[in-house]
Amino acid sequence: MKSLHAEFDALRRRFPPGFEPSLVLPCLRRIQEERGHVADADIDDLVAYLRVPRIRIEEVLSYYTQFRRAPIGRFHLQVCRNVACSMRGAEGVVAQIDERLGIAPGETTEDGRCTLSTVECLGSCGTAPVVVVNETYHENLTPERLDALIEGLAR
């Protein structure tokens, strides 16, 4: 993504010499922030800019859970399903989202607004159950607070 090259140049200067390959993760994150996902053309551009093998970027995109190569809904609801959250109602959270929005984990609402995923531990066990919407943590959820959160997304 050519518009980001100036930013990438500045980022590169913060790393020691020889660390160009390290830029793969931060550059992909920035591209995804701009586009919503990483497109094939973005991969070609990044390969040329960083001079890393294309397969390296394909592998990284497939390995990390936060990267995606296809668009999803405008709001990405990520529900933690690990120990503490499960013990504080995570399954109820998923059921309530399904009840209100009609989507199960892995699905997107018809209007393309909301995508639901279940994720592993978010480091928020003390404020379980937790839903992350895009980047933001919504902690200490109760059924009422979750309804308010969902309604807020509908507006």
Binding site: I43, P53, R54, I55
Partner: protein
């Protein structure tokens, strides 16, 4: 030197070696999937675990041998009860999700996993759960098909493209038991002229040759050592063909004289354990239509008649030129030299030039000269062949064209032509005399590569009836010369 003990044997290992290297160098067997002597050490299959005995103060421990540095006095056991138990566990896990495809898998009979299973485990699966499913028959490139269910994710193929062929064209996507070997989406694997080496080094039937797919069971085949004629590197290869005792009786007899596949013949002095894809495709080279009939002025004659006619032409010629094949073996060149060469102005010809799209040269194996034995030929005769009619010495009245790479219109108009070649071509009928000759796979001999290394090839097949060996042909032609001299 580091003194260690392996299974009680005293071994002098080198500084910096791993136990795996020291074991192999001293003839001790440690099984492995992911380790390879020419590749980096990933240490992921875990099958090479060995036991290091405690020394009284510390307890013994087990760890992978491929990443274990030798240490003075260490006592390694490669087959203790603990090692056997761990090895069996690891094999149970390697085969946990492995499909029992042996009945339809080309790797059967030369499969490391098969061999290790029977040697170190030998029991049915202990799992009652469904195996992981993945893509089967996945086209990795035009030449290579991948079965991800069989794949044990050892990463040999990935490391090969990263470290040896340097195409960086293979990787492993996803993670956990969803991991899949994949080729980069820009098609780089299809442009990697060494891609097929991953088929050899795959320890299971995951990576298979598409041309060879389901063509033959390997135990019906045998390899004959040979030398690839694709360039002056002269990689030693194994040419696989049906064993005589397994020849097909009812089907086309040509199937019994077919190159089924070509694999590297490991050679520390020339190509290591690798060859390029051109060598894999030798069947295409040797399978072209053969010239089978001797010709005089374009008419089929018996071999004797053709030899007589050639002999007469040579005797009568006043300024004969010989264009010597750069595919001639050392033996053929010697025979030529001691028989009739002195009658001719000899030049070594370039039989083959690089084809469009073919890699010309690199720093792995491929050399720009696409002829296997120019080195030996130019040791005897000058290398600059006459390539246009005008270039020939004036008064040239006979050209002996030996091998490919010289078309009829490149020859001087007034000269007579004696052509000796293996391949069917309209130019054969335009020669005054044409004698069909044998190819490399029909005789034994040697080539000398660009560095002066001499390698031997053996005969795989019988030559067709009516086709002459060049060495015998030269002897026959010489008989006249000697008679002339006396």
């Amino acid at each position: 030197m580091v003194e260690i003990f392996i299974d009680g044997d005293r071994v002098e290992a080198q500084e910096g070696q791993t136990v795996m290297q020291a074991a192999r160098a001293s003839g001790h067997v440690i099984p492995y999937f992911c380790w390879h002597p020419a590749l980096s050490v990933p240490g992921n299959c875990r099958i090479c675990m060995v036991e290091v005995e405690g020394d009284g103060t510390a307890a013994g421990w087990l760890d992978i041998a491929c990443n274990m540095p030798v240490a003075k006095g260490m006592r390694v056991l490669t087959d203790s009860p603990r090692v056997r138990s761990r090895r069996k566990q690891m094999l149970q896990l390697v085969t946990l999700n492995h499909p029992v495809d042996c009945g339809i898998c080309d790797k059967a009979g030369e499969c490391t996993l098969q061999d290790y299973h029977y040697q170190y485990n030998g029991e049915p699966s202990v799992s009652r759960d469904v195996k992981v499913r993945a893509t089967k028959h996945f086209p990795l490139s035009d030449r290579i098909v991948l079965d991800n269910e069989r794949c044990i994710v050892c990463s040999r193929c990935v490391r090969f493209t990263r470290e040896i062929s340097k195409s960086d064209s293979l990787g492993i996507v996803n993670r956990g038991d969803h991991s899949l070997v994949r080729a980069s989406e820009d098609g780089a694997l299809g442009r990697d002229p060494y891609s097929d080496n991953v088929i050899d080094i795959c320890p299971v039937g995951a990576l298979l040759s598409r041309p060879f797919l389901h063509q033959a069971r390997v135990w019906y085949l045998e390899p004959t050592p040979s030398v690839c004629p694709g360039c002056e590197r002269g990689c030693t290869v194994q040419i696989w063909h049906r064993k005589r005792e397994w020849k097909l009786n009812r089907l086309d007899a040509k199937l019994n004289a077919r190159i089924e596949r070509v694999t590297p013949l490991e050679n520390a002095a020339v190509n290591g354990p690798w060859i390029c894809n051109k060598g894999r495709d030798l069947a295409q080279l040797f399978d072209r239509p053969r010239a089978l009939a001797p010709l005089v002025a374009g008419r089929e004659v018996a071999l004797d008649a053709a030899v007589d006619a050639a002999r007469a032409l040579i005797a009568a010629a006043r300024r004969p030129v010989a264009l010597v094949s750069s595919w001639a073996s050392n033996e053929e060149l010697a025979a030529f030299d001691r028989t009739i060469a002195s009658r001719f102005t000899c030049r070594v010809k370039t039989d083959w030039l690089p084809l469009p799209g073919e890699r010309v040269e690199d720093d792995v194996l491929i050399k720009a000269d696409k002829n296997p034995n120019r080195t030996a030929a130019i040791a005897r005769y000058p290398g600059s062949a006459f390539e246009r009619p005008e270039a020939f010495p004036s008064g040239c009245d006979l050209v002996l064209v030996w091998g490919e790479g010289c078309r009829a219109d490149a020859l001087p108009a007034g000269a007579r032509v004696v052509r000796m070649d293996a391949w069917l071509h309209p130019d054969n009928a335009r020669a005054d005399v044409f004698v069909p000759i044998s190819v490399q796979t029909e005789r034994s001999g040697h080539y000398t590569n660009f560095a002066g290394t001499v390698s031997r090839f053996e005969a795989c097949f019988a030559k067709p009836d009516g086709v002459a060996d060049a060495e015998a042909l030269f002897a026959s032609l010489a008989a006249a010369a000697m008679a002339e001299a006396t």
